[in-house]
């Protein structure tokens, strides 16, 4: 399953501060959508609104509409916990649970929610998720060892395995490779391309080469200055954004003239 996400007139606030203003876009299913832009332009803030992680911060709120296959994510009776079960997230810094083994980390989406499963089911699911995250061969002999003993790149793939194990519809990646070396980055990028066969993938990145390598659609965000809200400047197919953008600001950014 993968879902289409529609953002309509979306404003994101931290208390009274408007962080992202008036975003309208459609994120396509079974594709990778990249958010690029300078630091502080609201990319991470926006991606966190997609699974309602944004409101974990006190005072943060959202105005406008966010539809996932036509269903309002911010509707009155919507349980944010249920949204997050369908929208997985990978963070900037790898954050496996330090008290759990590799296997328990993969199954944490179930174990933490007290779901019961048989031993064979658990083993199959662990293997499937780890194979899906290209990590199986490296860790299959030490599934009971703690997850924090892995290298940074392996930990990040473990976090991806954890996210895909619960079979979400959408996977959000907030700068997943910014703390990793080029080889681990390549592994994660290959993985993202594989994941789009099944999921809607949204990735925030500072690395424009990365966006141009792996994404199908690219959204460019910018701010007019400090204290001003971030805005969606241009959203189009990735080739177009990087070869022939419609906006001058986009061209300046992707050609490295600023930012």
């Amino acid at each position: 399953m993968s879902k289409r996400i529609e953002l309509q007139k979306l404003n994101v606030y931290y208390s009274s501060f408007l962080a992202v203003e008036d975003v309208n876009m459609v994120i396509e299913p079974k594709a990778i959508t990249a958010f690029i832009g300078p630091s502080g332009c609201g990319k991470s803030t926006l991606i966190r609104t997609l699974n309602r992680m944004h409101e974990v911060i006190p005072g943060a709120r959202v105005e406008g509409q966010l539809l996932m296959d036509g269903e309002d994510v911010y509707g009155p009776d919507v349980d944010p916990v249920r949204v997050r079960r369908q929208v997985g997230m990978v963070f900037q810094r790898p954050n496996p649970f330090p008290t759990m083994s590799i296997k328990d980390n993969v199954l944490s989406g179930y174990k933490l929610n007290n779901s019961r499963m048989s031993k064979t089911e658990a083993e199959e699911l662990t293997e499937k998720a780890l194979v899906g995250a290209n990590l199986w061969n490296e860790v299959k002999d030490r599934l009971d060892k703690p997850g924090s003993g892995l290298s940074g790149g392996q930990q990040q793939r473990l976090c991806i395995a954890r996210a895909i194990a619960v079979e979400p519809d959408v996977i959000l990646m907030d700068e997943p490779t910014s703390a990793l070396d080029p080889i681990s980055t390549a592994a994660i990028e290959d993985l993202a391309v594989e994941l789009k066969e099944k999921f809607t993938v949204v990735i925030v990145t500072h690395n424009m080469q990365q966006a141009s390598r792996i994404s199908d659609m690219t959204a460019f965000f910018n701010i007019a200055g400090t204290g001003m809200p971030g805005k969606l400047i241009e959203y189009d197919r990735t080739e177009k954004i990087f070869s022939n953008p419609a906006e001058q600001q986009t061209e300046d950014y992707v050609s490295g003239r600023f930012g």
Binding site: F97, P98, S108
Partner: protein, 354 residues
């Protein structure tokens, strides 16, 4: 300096390694001889060791600094002086501790025997007898106090760190701070006053002692747990939320296990803090010479009170009362030591591995 400087990294020559210990030894020997001579010249035969240490240390520090300044230069001389000061301060802090441990072991060993752990003081005047009634009482009262304090303390800390916002949280924090400073005698009077309401004046029972100890223990548990919960990285909470785990399950299954080692250590420290309390137990648990296994009825002896009463009300055979007091003190110290060891083991086995 005879050698020529060949590199810009090359500094002044160092003093050989044996110089510092040799000077220390020399100055203490010198100081000791001086004091012996002084003592014999003034016809006082008692040798006072405190001036020996003071003169020896000051002489050593000044001389080493001067020598080092001359040979090694200012930076290294300052380093040596500060090292001496820090080490001296550390030894000074250690002296009372070692002296206390030595005294308690030496005096307590006399009655640290099987009878001490198998007998109460019922019908015993003079020699013999034991502190079984006090050991049982201490374990029961402290155990009940722990059962009351730990859940309340941990839950209050969870509220403060994970849920508390605004006025109520600030009020709770304020009152926890105030409670940390409550004198133990006040906690005892509080427990007594509380039990008088239900059981009438003159009430004595172990449970009251446990309540009094809880009053002292809860703020310590809250503080320790709060600090431990605060250092659990926020990323772990977010990781759990992003997997669709509700907040309460995140707290129970991610935050608490991650902080468990620290919380266990905090709890053990809080137990060690209250297990030696005397004043509140004197008021509400009272003292007795007999066994009492029931904390809900009648007086109950505890180790600190046992030590106090043995020492304060010495009977006919004075020495045996004093010996029992010391053995009680030694037992109490050993219990605290075992608790600390348990805390270390817990934090070793439960802390996140990696």
């Amino acid at each position: 300096m005879t050698s020529q400087v060949t590199s810009s990294f090359q500094g002044t020559a160092d003093l050989p390694k044996w110089v510092s210990p040799a000077m220390l030894l020399a100055f203490f020997m010198g100081s000791f001889t001086l004091q012996v001579m002084l003592a014999s010249s003034t016809e006082q035969n008692e040798l006072n060791l405190i001036p020996v240490a003071v003169f020896g240390l000051v002489g050593y520090a000044v001389a080493l600094y001067a020598l080092s300044r001359f040979v090694e230069g200012r930076r290294k001389a300052t380093d040596r002086l500060v090292t001496i000061l820090v080490t001296a301060a550390f030894s000074l802090a250690l002296i009372p501790l070692l002296s206390l441990a030595y005294t308690v072991v030496q005096n307590g060993a006399a009655r640290f025997d099987a009878e001490f752990f198998t007998f109460s003081m019922r019908n015993i005047v003079g020699e013999g007898g034991g502190a079984l009634h006090a050991i049982i009482g201490t374990l029961e009262i402290t155990g009940i106090a722990t059962l009351i304090s730990v859940p309340i303390g941990i839950m209050a800390a969870i509220y403060l760190v994970e849920y508390g916002r605004g006025t109520i949280a600030r009020l709770v924090t304020f009152f926890v701070d105030v409670m940390t400073g409550v004198p133990s005698i006040v906690a005892g009077l509080f427990a007594y006053a509380l039990f008088v309401i239900f059981f009438g004046p003159g009430v004595r029972m172990g449970l009251g002692g446990a309540i009094a100890l809880s009053v002292l223990m809860i703020p310590v548990v809250i503080r320790a747990t709060e600090e431990m919960l605060k250092i659990v990285p926020n990323e772990l909470r977010e990781a759990a939320y992003a997997l669709g785990v509700p907040k309460w399950l995140t707290v129970i299954k991610v935050v608490l296990p991650t902080a468990l080692a620290g919380i266990a250590t905090g709890v053990m420290i809080s137990i060690a803090r209250v297990i030696g309390e005397t004043a509140p137990l004197l008021i509400i648990a009272g003292f007795t010479a007999s066994m009492n296994y029931n904390p809900f009825d009648e007086r109950m002896m505890t180790l600190p009170v046992f030590v106090y009463t043995s020492y304060a009300n010495q009977g006919v055979d004075m020495q045996s009362y004093v010996d029992r007091a010391w053995a009680g003190a030694l037992t109490l110290m050993l219990i605290v030591m075992v608790l600390n060891l348990v805390a270390r083991l817990i934090s070793k086995y439960f802390s996140p591995k990696g």
